[in-house]
Structure formats: structure tokens, C-alpha cells
Amino acid sequence: MRPASIEEAAALLRDCERPVRPVGGATKPWLPERGEEPLETGGLSRILEHNVGDFTAVLEAGVPFAAAQEAFAAHGQRLSWDPPDPGGATIGGIVATADSGPLRHRYGGVRDLIVGATVVLSDGTVAKSGGKVIKNVAGYDLAKLFAGSFGTLGLIASVAVRLHPLPTNTASVCERFDDPDALLARVLELARRPLEADCFDVVWEGGEGRLLLQFSGASAADQAERIGARAEVDWGAVRALQRTTEGAVLKVSGRPTDLPAVIRAAGDGTVVSRAALGLSWVRVPFERVADVRQALSPRACTVLDGAARVDEQWPDPPALAVMQRLKARFDPSRIFRPGVFVGGI
């Protein structure tokens, strides 16, 4: 199925009895496939609005992320999401997986910049929530509910997002560590200062750690130099450490103070951490997934890349009964990727 409009998507779904799998750029194979029929969003690829003066945009799900950023950059703006994009990632896919990159430190995640959404449910209902203004509390915030729902509640057809100015200056700092505890001490010291960094990441690979910060704005260089010597940082390479085609990537929902434990649990693997947020991506061979989980228990560790090769992709979710009811209410015919999400949803 490849609807060319939201209305067509609704018509297709209304008559659909087979399980379906919304697909954008197919860059994040994080849920096992069970023969669901692909529901491709490639025909929903319009930038419906770019309200330059208002710093907002309305985008259909199939808009390639890179194309959207290019359109915004032409007006000196950006959508402050920067998940790893091996090429072809779409807005819908990023929203469905709530994927994020280093800019999350300053701008928040998908949930924090999405101000409205239009979704298509399995009975063909087309429902919108939120709006296209950056401040709005009318009605329930269904956009947040669908962000990170992995296509299991319905089709995310379009979203309204908040944009930010594209900085003209950036400056980065890199500090090196070989002791995880010393690294944590520095992270905590900096996290308590009002730095206003855009990015605040730790990378650990090959027994060595790097603390990486990026600043933007008129005084980016001054801000960076107050921390340490300026350095060229390849942020694309940092993001890329969140992905693998060989082993598994575990996303760890932790605390900043967990950092040494996460590094030790990773062993010979690599870690990239949004250090002040406590979120880490740990890349290890498949056979080490269980060890990492056990070492970091009770922190939630979700397997993203490589999920098809491990037994337990999802940690136990909180309030599973409520989530099951949400699934039952929004997708009563259970056609949106049944059985592959948390708790067998």
C-alpha cells in the first residue's frame, strides 16, 4: 500500500483486515517483521506549511528528513532533531521511533518539538490533535502518545513541529579521559554549570573516553574556550555510533550518575551518551546483550539495532495494563504491527 494522500490512507485502512507496517525510509529495522503488509508513506511527502516567521512547519510523514532540513535551512532555520540518518530517514519514521541525536541535550526529543499531529486509525478515522502554534493546551496531547509508538497505534500521517534558528556559528570542545569515574566527575561538574551547550555527549570506545560539547550563537567560541581548547568534532560520526549493522545497540534509560556503570557494562563495546540526560546507546555483540542488561538492572535497556536476533527486545514497561487498553482503543482490529511492541502489544 502506498497512499498518495491522507484520505487515501484512510480509505485503504478502513478496508484493511491484514496486519500492516507503516514504512518510511526503512532505515530503522528495530521491530521484528512478521509478514505485515508494508504501508509506505512515500506518497505522503509534502511539506504542507513552512511558516517562516512563526518558526513552525507542517510536514507529511513521508517527507525525507534531509529534504525538510534543506528546505528550512534555505530560510536560516532548522528542526532541532539530529538522529543518525544513514540516508532516507523520514519525518514519520523519526517520530514513530522517537529517535534522537546530540541536539536533544538542549532542544529535547521528538516529543518536545512536535506541536500537533494528524493520525489515521485502523477504522479509517482521521484525527488531529494539538495545532500549529508553539503554545497550546486545548485537548489531549495525542502527538506525544504517538511519538515513540513504533507504528502500533495507527499511522502518523502528518506532524506540526516547532523550528529554531539555524546557528551561524558553532564551536566544539573535546576532553579525553581514560578513567570512567574521572569522566563522570567532570560531567557532573559541567552539568551543574549554566553552560547552555547545544550538545553534551560522552563517547567511550577502545578503552578511552571523550567528553564532547558544542556551543552555538554569537559567542560560541568564547563559550567553548571557557571550558577548554576548541576542537574539531565530527558530530556525524558521534551520531553514527548509535547504529550498527553487525551487533546490537541497547538504548539505556539511565541517570547521569550511571555513566561509569554503563561504560563498564559495555566492556569492549562502544558507548555514546547524552551525558547530562542519562540516555546512552551501547553497542555490543549479540551475545553480550544479556550481560549488559543484568549489569545495569533495574535500568530499562531496549534493543534497537539487532532486535531480531535477541530474545527480549523490550524491558518490562510501566503500567502495561493502560498501554494494552490504549492499543485496544486506538487499534481495535489490531492491524498495526500486532504483537511486536512492549509487553506483546
Partner: protein, 506 residues
């Protein structure tokens, strides 16, 4: 939310809109509530209940059968469970400073007052977290972690409003253009659902697995359950703050300055605008030396790193001057900055001095539509021959027009309400929203169908039913008309073949 409306209108009474429990004898329930929390924390006498008959929006009032003040999460859970058993509706209430009638009691239902639950449970600044009970005031969260850290969402009522209420309403404030809203700061919730179950979602850590229940719950106006424990992200206090007030000859010119500031790449901590009426009223109360008669005042605050603030502040001054301001006043010290803010925050109460009553509106528009919407509001005010004063959170396009009227003049309140509704229509026509921070409650219910279609409301109801299928938590709020949840699809059972991976479920 913004400040309590001190000159709140008596207005057209809307008690008939308050949902009503079927009149029946709930003395057994009241007796059980007394057993749970102790006799002294259950109020049933008329004079005691009067305290709770309204929230900050005084034109709506209703009397519950009883008000119960639990002291712990266990007591809240036991009370909610008792209500569920008896199928009696209940409403959670924090400080009662909300401005949408969101905490309006259900006639003959139970009011759950959380003001006793005001303990700060944990502070962990290494991880940037604080865990509090729902009755803690917004200001006390910042006080508990200050001065090194602070809690950014700052509704004008922050001295009195409770965090539990902030969670229910997804409260904003003057600084949310830069810092975001309550929903961007809640990292965990312990919630008692309407069936009496207690769940914990998130906590210290971000991104708990599964659906974003925090995102769904924050801003749900007390209709999905009651939060008994709240984990919040707190952030380091900015190194420096610089504040100015610039005066303009037209709101149009001030609006231009706002656009240019934002376009230039500056993200100010706050940008607030007042029109001539608001300046005049506020000056009478705050005596800040503001030039009465000027058409618009723009308060701009930059905060953050010293370098960045200094680099940008001169830009902001230059933009204001270029857009026609010949009077830019920079706060020289903290005292002067406080005076600027006092004057801005005096706008609501000050209006009570020049008008016996007023309605406060809470519309949102795309910022670029500011000039045309302001012209529309002026035209409406002329047409109705009524005074409308304007204060805005200009950065995010959140307007608070104050529609002045005299409650003693027959028909005046009704006309003011009609005018107020037309202002909302103008916001919607401009692509905006019916509420930016006060919430829908009972007050904006009638406007919901203008913003959301039947299918949208149906989707909202699916969410509501997932949390509270019996519809006992704060019924009659947020949704324009009462709805039932209908059949719950039966629990899904996995087919053995499907479980074995041998077959799909078709």
C-alpha cells in the same frame, strides 16, 4: 496559567453546566472517607465547602457532597478506590488558582483536595531531579533547589499554585518561550487511576519503554487520574539575566520588534507586551514611572551565559530602536528588574481598579498574525463599545485580552462574554488555539468543536477511556459534551500458532 483574577466577574452563572451526580445517599462513602483520612479531614458542612466551590474562575461554582483532604498517596488511593466502588465522581484540586474552571467540583460528588500533600521527597542535583508531592507550590520547587538550580515553568500564580495543578494543566508562564512548559519538565509520575490502581511511570530516567504516558497525562486536566508523586527536571540557574522595557507608538511597531528579535536568532527568556490600557492600569498600581499614553510596552529578558547575553543584548536594543522605540529602559539592577516584572504582573489585578469586572481570554495565534488580530480585537471592542486591554506572551503568540464590563449593568456580562468568544474566533481564524495555558476546563468546552472535529474528539475519548473507562475522574471537563466509553474491545488473546511464530493473525 496566569495570575488569579482578583477582579473576577460574578458574571453569567453557569452552575447548570457543572456535572451533577445522580442525587443519592452517599453517607456510607463519606463514612468510609472519614475512616481513611480521619474525621477532621472530611468536610461536609456548607460553610466549609464554600471555600472550594470555585477555582480561580469565580463565575462557575458548584458544591460537592464532601471535600476530603488526604495526607498521603495511600490515602488518596484508598479514597479513589472507595469512590470507584460506589461509582461516585470525584475532582482533584490543588491550590484552586486555575482559570478555566478545571477544578470546579461535581455537584454532589467528592472533591479530593491535595493541599496537605506538600512534602519535597527527594532532591538529587547531580541528576537534575526533584521529587515532590502534588500540593507543593511551584515557587517552592525552585526554592528547594535554588539558588544554584531552578524549575523553569513559572505561571504568574507560582507563589500559590501547586505542582499537581501545573501537571493537570500543563502550565506555562512568562519564560516558556525559551524554556518550555510543564510537560517538558515532568520525568515521572505516580498516578492513582480512577479504578483505584496506582501506577508509576518514569521517574529519574527519561524515555521509559512503551507509550509516552507522561505526555498523555500532563495537561489532561485531571480527567485521567490523580498524580500523587511527581518527578521534575530542574536546571542550573542562568549565569546572568538582562532585562529591558521599550515603549512604542503602536502595538504594530512593538510586534515588528518581536518578530525581528526572534528572526535574528535570539531566543529570549521572555518577551511580554502590554498595550496602552494595560500600561495605564499597571502604572497606577506599580508606580514604575511608565509613560502613560504610550501605545505599547515590550519587556524583553535575555538570560543565559554572560557572553551570549551581552553579545545579544545590544542587538535587541538596536532592533527596538530601529522599530521605532525612542524610550528603551535597561534594568540597572535586580531591584529595577523586579519592578519591570511587578508592573507586567500587575496588569491583571490592576484592571480591577479601572473596571468592576472583566473576563480574561487566553487565545493563541501564530506570532506573525499579531497585527491583524490586534486590529480585529480593536474593531470588536469598538463594535461592542467595551474596553479590551491586552497583555501578551508575545514570543509564543499567547494573548490575554481582558474584556472589561460592569456586572451591575444588566446584560453587560453576557455581551462581554460574547465579545470574548469572538476574540477566540479571531484567534482560530488566524490558525491559533482556544487556550495557550489556562486549559479548557468548563470555560472553553463550548469552543472545542470550533477547533476539533468529531473524529478528533473521538480520538480524545479513546485516550480518556483507556485511563478511566467509567468516567469518574473530573467528568464534564475538557470534552464539549459528555460521552460514554462504550464497549471495550475484548482482551486480545494470542493464537498458539501466532505465539509459535507459525502464523500471523489475519
Amino acid at each position: 496559567m496566569d495570575g488569579r483574577v482578583e477582579a473576577a466577574p460574578e458574571g453569567p452563572a453557569k452552575v447548570e453546566e457543572a456535572p451533577r451526580e445522580a442525587p443519592r445517599d452517599i453517607s456510607a462513602l463519606v463514612a468510609e472517607l472519614r475512616r481513611i483520612v480521619g474525621d477532621e479531614w472530611v468536610y461536609t458542612a456548607e460553610h466549609q465547602l464554600r471555600t472550594y466551590e470555585s477555582d480561580g474562575l469565580l463565575q462557575y461554582h458548584a458544591t460537592p457532597a464532601c471535600a476530603v483532604l488526604p495526607g498521603t498517596a495511600d490515602e488518596v488511593q484508598a479514597c479513589v478506590r472507595a469512590c470507584a466502588r460506589e461509582q461516585v465522581s470525584w475532582v482533584a484540586r490543588g491550590a484552586g488558582s486555575g482559570l478555566s474552571g478545571g477544578a470546579l467540583p461535581v455537584e454532589d460528588g467528592v472533591l479530593l483536595v491535595l493541599s496537605r500533600m506538600k512534602r519535597i521527597l527527594e532532591i538529587d542535583l547531580d541528576n537534575g531531579r526533584v521529587c515532590v508531592e502534588p500540593g507543593v507550590t511551584n515557587a517552592n520547587v525552585s526554592a528547594a533547589v535554588g539558588p544554584e538550580f531552578f524549575y523553569p515553568p513559572d505561571p504568574s500564580s507560582q507563589i500559590v499554585c501547586s505542582i499537581g495543578g501545573n501537571v493537570a494543566e500543563n502550565s506555562g508562564g512568562a519564560h516558556c518561550f525559551k524554556y518550555g512548559f510543564t510537560t517538558n519538565y515532568v520525568t515521572g509520575l505516580e498516578i492513582v487511576l480512577a479504578d483505584g490502581e496506582r501506577i508509576t511511570v518514569g521517574g529519574y530516567e527519561l524515555d521509559p519503554p512503551g507509550y509516552d504516558l507522561l505526555g498523555a497525562f500532563v495537561g489532561s486536566e485531571g480527567t485521567l487520574g490523580v498524580a500523587t508523586k511527581i518527578w521534575l527536571r530542574v536546571v542550573p540557574s542562568p549565569e546572568t539575566v538582562k532585562t529591558l522595557v521599550a515603549f512604542f507608538d503602536s502595538t504594530h511597531a512593538a510586534g515588528e520588534a518581536v518578530s525581528e528579535i526572534v528572526q535574528s536568532g535570539v531566543v529570549p527568556g521572555a518577551i511580554e507586551m502590554m498595550d496602552a490600557r494595560s500600561i495605564e492600569a499597571s502604572e497606577q498600581m506599580a508606580n514604575a514611572g511608565y509613560p502613560v499614553g504610550r501605545a505599547a510596552a515590550l519587556l524583553v529578558e535575555l538570560d543565559g551565559s554572560q557572553h551570549e547575553c551581552e553579545a545579544r543584548f545590544d542587538d535587541v536594543v538596536a532592533i527596538c530602536e530601529r522599530c521605532g522605540s525612542d524610550d528603551v529602559r535597561v534594568a540597572r539592577d535586580e531591584a529595577e528588574r523586579q519592578l519591570f516584572w511587578k508592573t507586567r504582573k500587575a496588569a491583571f489585578p490592576a484592571m480591577g481598579r479601572i473596571s468592576p469586572n472583566y473576563f480574561v481570554q487566553d487565545g493563541v495565534i501564530p506570532r506573525t498574525k499579531l497585527p491583524e488580530v490586534l486590529e480585529r480585537i480593536e474593531a470588536l471592542a469598538r463594535e461592542y463599545d467595551m474596553i479590551v486591554a491586552n497583555v501578551f506572551h508575545a514570543g509564543d503568540g499567547n494573548l490575554h485580552p481582558l474584556v472589561c464590563y460592569d456586572g451591575d449593568k444588566p446584560g453587560d456580562a453576557e455581551r462581554a462574554e460574547e465579545l470574548s468568544g469572538k476574540i477566540i474566533d479571531a484567534c482560530l481564524e488566524a490558525g491559533g488555539s482556544i487556550t495557550g495555558e489556562h486549559g479548557v476546563g468548563v470555560d472553553k468546552k463550548k469552543h472545542m468543536p470550533k477547533m476539533f472535529g468529531e473524529a478528533d474528539l473521538d480520538a480524545f475519548q479513546r485516550l480518556r477511556c483507556s485511563f478511566d473507562p467509567a468516567g469518574l475522574a473530573n467528568p464534564g471537563k475538557l470534552m464539549p459534551t459528555p460521552r460514554l466509553c462504550g464497549e471495550v474491545p475484548g482482551p486480545y488473546r494470542q493464537h498458539p500458532l501466532e505465539a509459535a511464530g507459525l502464523a500471523e493473525r489475519f
